[in-house]
Symmetry: C2
Subunit: 795 residues, 2 copies
């Protein structure tokens, strides 16, 4: 649909005038933010001292964003819509700020920036100013639940926000630069997972303004037919709004929004009345408008409006260059501010007619600021806990146990529809499949009779894209709901950068009182490095923990539960927290269980503790050596090493320390979960050797504990980037975190044990040789490994 | 084009028979790898002990991969094509191994696996066996330059391989699971950057077998029209080959490949004769075939062939379950091995007729194993070096200086066409734009007259997708060429996971003699954390260094050149290395220069050294304190701090140490660039306080240096995840890495300086207060910061 084809009857001249004036006001306010620190209404001639010393900000995308915001206001009022604005294009900040100030929500949230002359001056001055506000949509931006700094995640966030929000429409502006990113490119597929009966709608508005920083964008150079084909292929129906002349563009946009909202309501009605039951072809809008629309046509004789020169600050050196300053003044006066604001700085009453009812203001939408937060009902964990009569006497599968708990969480919250499980096609592989007793995988493409637990209203979201899992979940959490992301450990690195941005969002949000707490982002990393022997080297990487540990202590937690009950406890705890990122690593293979529920609670609450039942030293005695461990496989291997040591050296005093909460290793002044130095010293001693078997890269332990008194005696074994396709135990051997190497390390660092020690050393070395020969011949681990059992102190 | 429409006249019965038998042989060999460790020819009844104890591997995708490989052999011979096979689907290993063994290239590379009965048994046994070979395409796999473990990168790798390889066709099989990933979704856009005149061609074969591990795939549930639209939108022409009956599928595939190759040749001819000069509509193939094609239809009464149950090992517990074993034996015998191999295990001569000439074998293609490696001509750096008469007396822009050098690299290698520069739309922003004097940005969409340095044969590749930059570059390097990836520091995390896989690839490759060295992957991270004050918190993250440091020491290098000449030296050095990942961080802003070229060479060669001109202690004297720094901004702030200290405390003995090569901090036994303990102790002392200003997160320095004698006295300042939109200097203040905080830290740790020290402390604290007040009022840094100059020892 080009302009020519659009029926323009729907917009009166009055309506047109208000739209145009509102847009002009938003554009004026946007230019003002980039340039001015004084004289906001231009009621005096523009002088150098009115201009900011450092010109920062991005004009290019802003007029288009303002155009869209203006028109959304119209359609919100007309249809009494509950709508949010997801601002994808980079550096769209001035537009969001201009519009939320104009509609009043900015001043509602920030009373020190009222809709007055002074308020306008503050709005201008604070933009990209030290101690002020960022140049893109950010936590500080009212009405935003999306960070516009790193590109690519807008559409996934928008979908996350509307899942289980049947009355909400997320208008999502996708920049044409952003559209080139991988995350955005696959986000178009999100419609396969959106159910019109229970979910709201996303209205994508692909904004083609033609240029990135210095280059044209790919999609902007596609012709309409190519775009129509592409989006049709993705299951969307694309409407086009294209041009630069204001009047026909207003008509086209109004008409197209009317049509799009009508189509959304049609689809929802049909689905909710049970008339239609397949993936609908949702509407989307392609908006082609000039980059930097309404800026001067030229600067210094070179093309400006509609070109990449309009991307950032279109006119530079305005303080110093009188001609540039004149050009800026003419530009700003071209919006005729005196017609838009009264002398006190307040927007004119007729402009404010376009502002929706306060309960519908996009800048105040509670879906974007934690104002809506569903309560998550959680079951007691004791009904799921494994019965552990004594350490090592029961075998259990940690994630399978957790799966039953998560199924109950699903059941308890089925009616509220406020909990979802995300994963890249791995829920069953990760042995969480008990959840399928309560729900299904959501899927809106055709379903075949032989498909397994696929349904239109499933609450498990599986797609082979970690980006989508993460982006959807972020949107779902930030709009007040709860979730869980289970992922292969190695491949969580795919969303390292998304995690960064979410952690930054949380840090900034915590400083904003008007943003209420949101549920934490919970990761379960399973199919982890030690049990990816069959998938090989590419599936072996525990480095996400290191990545996470760099973020602010307030935000991040890392848990390494050693067995099923501790995984249960930690998971239930994480689901109750807010404003954090919790990372849990736990295996899915059958393994010995160490703690009953009572012991689990005591142990996990502190985060680290001595397992006296495993060691050979009384609580109040000093050990000869500390054998520490974090993670399920390291715990198993440590206990097996301890057993070997205790059998050979019955008089040796060994303390076994297990660490569940990795952050407990940091000092208490570095992390809220950190053990005090006294507690740490009591556990790890100040002068005895510590052999520490860690789930991940060994350096992380050094990094966390380098300030501790006994750091010089800390010898960490962990993943040293040695891997291949082999047996599970051989993975441990290759990285010297197996029982034999751990026992050898203990022998090396402990006081000399004379002939008995030397003999044990020879035995251990022989066992390692035997292991290597055995797996080469048999292709599986030696019986003594496969059948190993904790014998406790019976040795 | 469905089967019905295909003209089947092109395939004789004989040809058909050979294709079918070859495919059967490949399928037989694939099943054998998953199951057998003995009785490879099934010349005896199948017994439990012939079966591997641990059944690992993935059947689902394999028959389709074999079908494609078989047909590519036909078309290679028919057209004398230079072709490679990029195997995208996860766990496609058995297919690649079966085919390369069948064609003889496997035995050529691995003589211990000959085309005999014994060789076949070795081939079977080693698959997913300890010490054997992985289950997906991997470095160990002949003919592969693509790791099949982590999904999403096949198409980008294929494009990378054919850029500047005009005679090469990369047949790229894209799995329908893989197609859901972000990286793959945007890779379809790569055709916008492929020039048919100078580049080869990629023939994507989208393999829709319908299922991932447990779910249908999105694209497989799309109908043909939807797929045709989608790919047409992306600029491709899709041909369809669909079905399961063997004869019509062979005819359809042969016909479609004929048509596709003819189309590729037409396009290339038109472009190379200058007849056509726009982005062509390249052909691609959509192959719909059953998952696990040719497997038994059912197992235990449940659907197997064509379903997700065929994804992995289709028949389990074969050792233990007699019925399952019988089913397996029937399945394997259904390929009639006795018709495919003679009793000695050698493939029958008529089957081998399909094998291309040795020089054309995909399994031996030198484009995939470093066998082709273009020589990169490098200019001398002295002609680009800045003239530095004394420390701090010149101002320069590091990346702008490097840009001129890279332009000359472009010029020297223009004819050879073996060097490309990648970046997400940031070459100019990162001030490398001197390269545009020698070349342009490549772009095959329409070009407007006002576009800036866009051309069909440009050698700068800009796309707003770090995934594509990385994927293309990996493909380009692995096929024997050279390149450079310049990226905003924060957003390089987007490809953390791709870096992981490339580093793993290099580590394994180094152990394979038949893989020759390839050029290193060089990253220039600029627009870095300390100068992203205007872009705000989302653009501030120096954590890629931590991520990189986890990989094997043999593979990774991290450089933090403090000025332009050192950036030049380091860059020229990196371009000469092979089989590494080099990470260089350098700013783009005007800054003081410290070293002339001679000093630069001496300093960078060691990687770390004392700057005696900056300190106040003779070389052979012990200092009172060491002020160390790594990175351009930390170096500047350290020198400014030293200047403050020297002026106030002229008798204080300060040693200034600058670290360029971060790995020099590690012990020499941990990293090849590590300083010996003696050298380290000489530089950093064994007992004096060290205040270390580091570019990134401070923990990295502790992690690298925790084994050093003086570690307990090491006080590191770095990025502590404090950021916002502010001034450049305020970014340093927020993280306490600015001159005032560094001088305060020095005061804290050095011997007490009495009243003079106390006075200096007050002065520094006042300066910090004044700074904060000043930027809030003026929006820029205090003049004393903006105009600061190194005054050396003149104080």
């Amino acid at each position: 649909m080009s302009n020519a084809q659009i029926d323009t009857a729907s917009l009166t001249n009055d309506e047109m005038d208000v739209l145009e004036r509102y847009w002009r006001a938003a554009n004026y306010l946007s230019v003002g933010q980039i340039y001015l620190m004084d004289n906001p209404l231009l009621d005096r001639p523009l002088e150098p001292e009115h201009i900011k010393p450092r010109l920062l900000g991005h004009w290019g995308t802003t007029p288009g964003l303002n155009f869209i915001y203006t028109h959304l206001n119209r359609i919100i009022t007309k249809n009494d819509l509950e709508m949010i604005y997801v601002c994808g294009p980079g550096h769209g900040g001035p537009g969001m700020l201009a519009n939320t100030w104009l509609e009043g929500s900015y001043s509602e949230i920030y009373p020190h920036v009222p809709r007055t002359r002074e308020g306008m001056q503050t709005l201008f001055r604070q933009f990209s100013f030290p101690g002020g506000v960022p140049s893109h949509a950010a936590p500080e931006t009212p009405g935003s639940m999306h960070e516009g700094g790193e590109l690519g995640y807008s559409l996934a966030h928008a979908f996350g926000a509307v899942f289980d929000n049947p009355d909400l429409i997320a208008a999502c502006v996708v920049g044409d630069g952003e559209a080139e990113t991988g995350a955005l490119a696959t986000s178009w597929h999100s419609n396969t997972f959106l159910n019109p009966e229970h979910d709201g709608a996303v209205l994508p508005i692909l904004h083609l303004n033609g240029y990135k920083i210095a280059n044209p964008t790919i999609l902007a150079r596609f012709d309409d037919q190519q775009l129509r084909d592409m989006f049709s292929g993705f299951g969307w129906e694309a409407f086009f709004v294209e041009g630069e002349d204001h009047a026909p563009m207003h008509r086209a946009m109004a008409e197209t929004l009317d049509r799009s909202v009508a189509r959304i309501h049609e689809i929802q009605k049909a689905a909710r009345e049970g008339v239609v039951n397949e993936r609908p072809r949702w509407p989307m809008i392609v908006l082609r408008s000039p980059k930097g629309w309404t800026a001067p046509k030229q600067i210094d004789g070179k093309k400006l409006e509609g070109f990449w020169r309009a991307h950032q600050v279109p006119i530079g050196k305005v303080r110093e260059n009188g001609e540039h300053r004149k050009l800026l003044e003419e530009w700003m006066r071209s919006y005729r501010p005196e017609e838009l604001f009264d002398p006190s700085g307040r927007p004119m009453p007729d402009i404010l007619k376009l502002v929706p009812d306060k309960s519908r203001l996009m800048g105040l939408s509670p879906h974007t600021n934690g104002g809506v937060k569903a309560e998550l009902k959680l079951p007691e964990i004791h009904q799921f806990a494994l019965d552990v009569s004594g350490p090592g006497e029961t075998t259990g599968e940690a994630t399978r146990t957790l799966g039953k708990y998560l199924a109950e969480v699903m059941r308890l919250n089925a009616e509220a529809r406020n909990f979802r499980l995300m994963g890249p096609d791995e829920t069953t592989s990760n042995r969480l499949d008990a959840v399928f007793e309560e729900t299904d995988r959501v899927w809106m493409e055709p379903i075949e009779p032989y498909d397994d637990h696929l349904a239109h209203d499933g609450r498990v979201m599986e797609v082979l894209s970690e980006h989508l899992c993460q982006g959807w979940l972020e949107g779902y959490l930030l709009s007040g709901r709860h979730g869980w992301f289970a992922c292969y450990e190695a491949f969580i690195h795919i969303i390292d950068s998304m995690f960064n941005q979410h952690a930054k969002w949380l840090k900034v949000s915590q400083g904003l009182e008007w943003r209420k707490p949101v549920a934490s982002l919970n990761y379960l990393l399973t199919s982890h490095v030690w049990r990816q022997d069959h998938n090989g080297f590419s599936h072996q990487d525990p480095g996400f923990l290191d990545h996470v540990a760099n973020k602010k202590a307030d935000i991040v937690r890392i848990y390494l539960p050693p067995d099923a009950n501790s995984l249960l406890w930690v998971s239930a705890h994480c689901l109750q927290t807010t404003d954090r990122v919790n990372v849990i690593v736990a295996g899915k293979q059958p393994s010995p269980q160490w703690m009953n529920l009572e012991e689990t609670e005591r142990h996990c609450r502190v985060g680290a503790g001595a397992w006296d039942w495993a060691g050979s030293v009384a609580e109040d005695e000093e050990p000869d050596i500390v054998m520490a461990c974090a993670g399920d496989v390291p715990t198993l291997e440590t206990l097996a090493a301890v057993q070997l040591l205790r059998e050979a050296l019955p008089k040796l005093k060994i303390r076994v320390v297990n660490v569940v909460d990795l952050m407990s290793l940091q000092p208490e002044y570095s992390h809220p979960h950190g053990l005090s130095d006294r507690d740490f010293d009591q556990l790890f001693t100040t002068d005895r050797p510590i052999v520490f078997a860690h789930h991940g890269y060994p350096y992380l332990i050094h990094r966390l504990a380098y300030k501790r008194h006994n750091h010089a005696n800390l010898h960490v074994h962990g993943y040293r980037e040695e891997g291949t396709t082999t047996t599970p135990f051989d993975m441990a051997v290759l990285n010297e975190i197996d029982r034999f190497h751990l026992a050898l390390a203990a022998l090396k660092w402990m006081p000399d044990q004379g002939e008995v020690g030397a003999k044990l050393k020879r035995t251990l070395e022989e066992k390692l040789d035997r292991h290597t020969a055995y797996i080469k011949e048999h292709g599986e681990d030696m019986p003594e490994i496969l059948e190993w059992q904790w014998r406790g102190a019976k040795a």
